[in-house]
């Protein structure tokens, strides 16, 4: 069976205590605590794995321990041609280990596999589990003034409505940014006031002149505690809607991933028509998301004309969503067991007409953008994500495909209707902003084709199976959906009474942030906003920037307009009177 090969190989390295199978292509191997780093490293580098997610879990009520689950997608390193696992052997292997509640310490995997860094920082925030040997032990998710011994996701920690008192701002502990050594380095904080449409974040850029030499960032200003909320008071029907609101752009991918995780945990197969419609809607989402990002990548470099045209086309994709789901942004049609709303013949016909418009016009505008030498010079060679850095940090989506690595969940682990659909994975070499935008353009084209194929191939079946299902407590599974920015991964362990025991939702961008630091290095300050934008977390311009010159101790507060203007024109550096 699938995965056995990897378990066997792993067995030669470390002692496996127990193997459990969740579904056809997901197995879990329980290893001893001390073997954890080696087990993960072995699968990651020697067997060709990428880190999909890591889930800490409070299982004291089940087995008197805390547990960690490192889920790896076994697909091959993909660093050179042929470095890939055969299509029918790709699978997910999860390394599980148990931590005693008396020690709360586990050996960090990060020194061996850098991709784990954020996950292990989060394990401390949420569960108080300490990664021994983790180079960076700062808080990640919770705010700096969060009470020291309160770990919200422990089952006995707190009521989900509890909000600790905030400290006055002058009492608030300082967050320590990682700063490079050396004199003459200028500290440029970006944010935290707004920065992004859906994720406010604070970036600290360390500059020498106008060149960024390093960067650090603090995110999660909008942590909403959804996982805790769902565990405490939601049933599966409600969770789908909550998951759809995780993100303001790729929410639908979250909704499907969340519901599919629950479906997988009980091996529930949904009708083919429902599968097809889920794919159609998620591809529509990709259309509007990619158009948004390409548009913004033009806007942030001052190309308003192209931006307006791209948004004009984007409106068609929003219309398309409205047509087939009744909502422009939230599609709200996923329920456990299938879908709530079918697509009629009339709607299909109209959709095909709209798709045609999108396809032609996207080509026209892209052609014009490619022709624009000024635009190209702003995109090319900027914000390079090195291939090896990408291999080490497991980024996802156009971010990694733009670095020449062929990772796409739709292709590696085809879910739903993707088993029957033909499409080419968009891979571009180069790793710069241009490569990432090119990937997006190619995906726009393939999305249109995927939607067409779905319309053609979807059978006339029911769209929902009888919803009388029984969840089995302690069963868990992983579900993944290739959202516009990469795979959204949801992990669900079921509890009793139709509730979840643990819901771990990992958005695509979570895997993309840790390597951003490397993308910043060596670039011009004027490109900072563009680089963040090309990751597609959102557009990034700056509300307000404080610039401090360490040497002269001079500081200056820049307005949004100052930095935006510099980003667009690259003239009149806002830093010049500080030098």
């Amino acid at each position: 069976m699938k995965c056995d090969k990897f378990i066997e190989a792993l067995g030669t390295r470390v002692k496996i205590l127990e193997v459990t199978r969740q579904c056809d292509d997901q197995v879990t191997a329980l290893v001893e605590l001390n073997d954890l780093p080696e087990a993960v490293r072995f699968l990651y580098y020697d067997m060709g794995g990428y880190l999909t997610t890591m889930v800490p879990n409070d299982e004291r009520s089940i087995n008197k321990h805390y547990a960690l689950y490192y889920a790896l997608s076994m697909e091959g390193g993909k660093m050179f041609a042929g470095d890939e696992i055969a299509q029918d052997e790709k699978c997910f292997v999860t390394i599980k280990t148990l931590i005693s509640p008396d020690s709360l310490v586990f050996p960090s995997v990060t020194p061996l596999v850098p991709a784990c860094v954020w996950y292990e920082r989060e394990a401390y925030d949420m569960f108080g589990l300490v990664a021994e040997g983790l180079p960076d032990k700062r808080r990640l998710v919770l705010s700096d003034d969060w009470p020291d011994n309160l770990f919200p996701l422990r089952k006995d920690a707190m009521d989900y409505r509890y909000r600790p008192d905030m400290k006055d701002h002058y009492m608030e502990p300082e967050y320590e940014f990682l700063r490079p050594e050396g004199s003459g380095i200028i500290d440029v904080p970006l944010g935290p006031l707004h920065i992004t449409a859906d994720e406010p974040g604070h970036f600290r850029l360390f500059c020498d002149g106008d060149t960024i030499i390093d960067a650090d960032y603090r995110l999660f200003y909008q942590h909403r505690g959804m996982e805790k909320l769902a565990e405490n008071r939601m049933n599966y029907d409600q969770m789908g809607y909550l998951a759809e609101r995780v993100c303001g752009i790729c929410g639908y991918a979250h909704a499907i991933a969340c519901i599919e995780a629950a479906e997988k945990a009980i091996n529930l197969e949904i009708p083919a028509r429902a599968q097809a419609i889920r794919v159609i809607c998620s591809e529509i989402e990709r259309l509007h998301s990619h158009l948004l990002n390409i548009g913004l990548a033009c806007e942030v470099t001052g190309n308003y004309n192209a931006f307006m045209h791209i948004f004009r086309i984007r409106e068609y994709s929003m219309k398309l969503a409205e047509l087939v789901t009744g909502g422009r942004k939230t599609y709200g049609n996923v329920v456990m067991g299938g879908l709530r709303r079918d697509i009629t013949g009339v709607e299909i016909k109209e959709s095909l007409r709209i798709l045609q418009i999108i396809e032609t016009q996207v080509d026209e505008v892209w052609d014009a953008v490619m022709d624009d030498k000024r635009q190209m010079s702003r995109w090319k060679g900027v914000g390079i994500l090195d291939k090896q850095v990408a291999r080490d940090f497991s980024p996802v989506g156009p971010n990694i495909r733009g670095s020449g690595i062929k990772r796409d969940t739709r292709y590696d682990h085809p879910y739903d209707f993707f088993k029957q659909i033909q499409f080419d994975v968009a891979v571009v070499e180069g790793g710069d902003v241009f490569a990432r935008e090119m990937v997006r353009y190619m995906e726009l084209k393939s999305s249109v084709s995927i939607i067409r194929q779905c319309f053609e191939l979807m059978p006339q079946t029911a769209i929902i199976v009888d919803p009388t299902f029984h969840v089995k407590p302690e069963n868990y599974a992983l579900a993944y959906v290739e959202a516009p920015r990469g795979d959204n991964v949801h992990w669900i362990m079921q509890g009793s009474a139709q509730k979840v025991f643990r819901w771990r939702c990992r958005a695509a961008t979570y895997n993309n942030w840790p390597s951003l630091r490397f993308q910043f290095r060596g670039n011009n300050l004027a490109d900072a906003a563009l680089i963040v934008c090309s990751l597609d977390p959102c557009y990034s311009c700056t509300e307000r920037v404080t610039v401090v010159d360490i040497k002269s101790k001079k500081s200056k507060i820049l307005t949004n307009a100052d930095l935006k203007n510099f980003a667009r024109t690259q003239k009149d550096s806002p830093l010049k009177d500080l030098r």
Partner: protein, 179 residues
């Protein structure tokens, strides 16, 4: 650059004059749920289905009315209420202009339904309309006159009294009509 200008020329003006002209949404648009009080029977199915608790169905303080209340500020336009409502009293409409000026209470819609009191213990337990509706359904269901008459009494009892009555029938060894 010139190419972009050509595109502009080709497609011309595409903006709408909204709000000076109406904006047409697609059929089956999921807009604000519209409530038809006359059809509502107070069964609370919508309140149970609503994932975001936008709809509540509760007695008022002195329990003289069953209050159906919808808070548009909480609604996520999912359409669950529309699906489960047995009488079509709530349906998603095409309305999307939901902003209110300063007054948040304008987002709230209420319906007050008369309370049904239990014929045995006289406690309030449901809405009059729900009892009436259940009876009408039964009348259409081709059951015997006698059974219908029994149902009439039965429907007007609160769940607790119903339970007691059933237990009493069992333990009393009385015969029951089962059809």
């Amino acid at each position: 650059m010139m190419k972009l200008l050509d595109i502009s020329k080709k497609y011309g003006e595409i903006t709408h004059k909204y709000p000076f002209e109406p904006y047409k949404v697609s059929d089956n648009f999921r807009g604000k749920p519209a409530y038809i009080f006359d059809l509502c029977i107070g069964c609370a199915a919508c309140g149970i289905a609503c994932p975001s608790n936008a709809i509540t169905v509760q007695f008022n303080d002195d329990k003289s009315k069953l209050i159906w209340e919808f808070d548009c500020g909480r609604c996520i336009f999912c359409g669950r209420c529309d699906e489960v409502c047995p009488t079509g009293a709530i349906k998603l409409s095409e309305e999307f202009e939901l902003a209110v000026k300063f007054d948040k209470s304008a987002l709230i819609q209420r319906g007050e339904l008369d309370t049904q009191y239990c014929t045995t213990c006289h406690k309030p337990f449901s809405a009059k309309r729900l009892v009436k509706y259940s009876f009408e359904c039964l009348s259409k269901a081709n059951v015997s006159e006698k059974r219908l008459e029994e149902a009439k009494n039965y429907l007007c009892m609160c769940p607790t009294c119903k339970k007691t009555a059933t237990v009493a029938t069992f333990t009393g060894g009385k015969e029951m009509v089962i059809e």
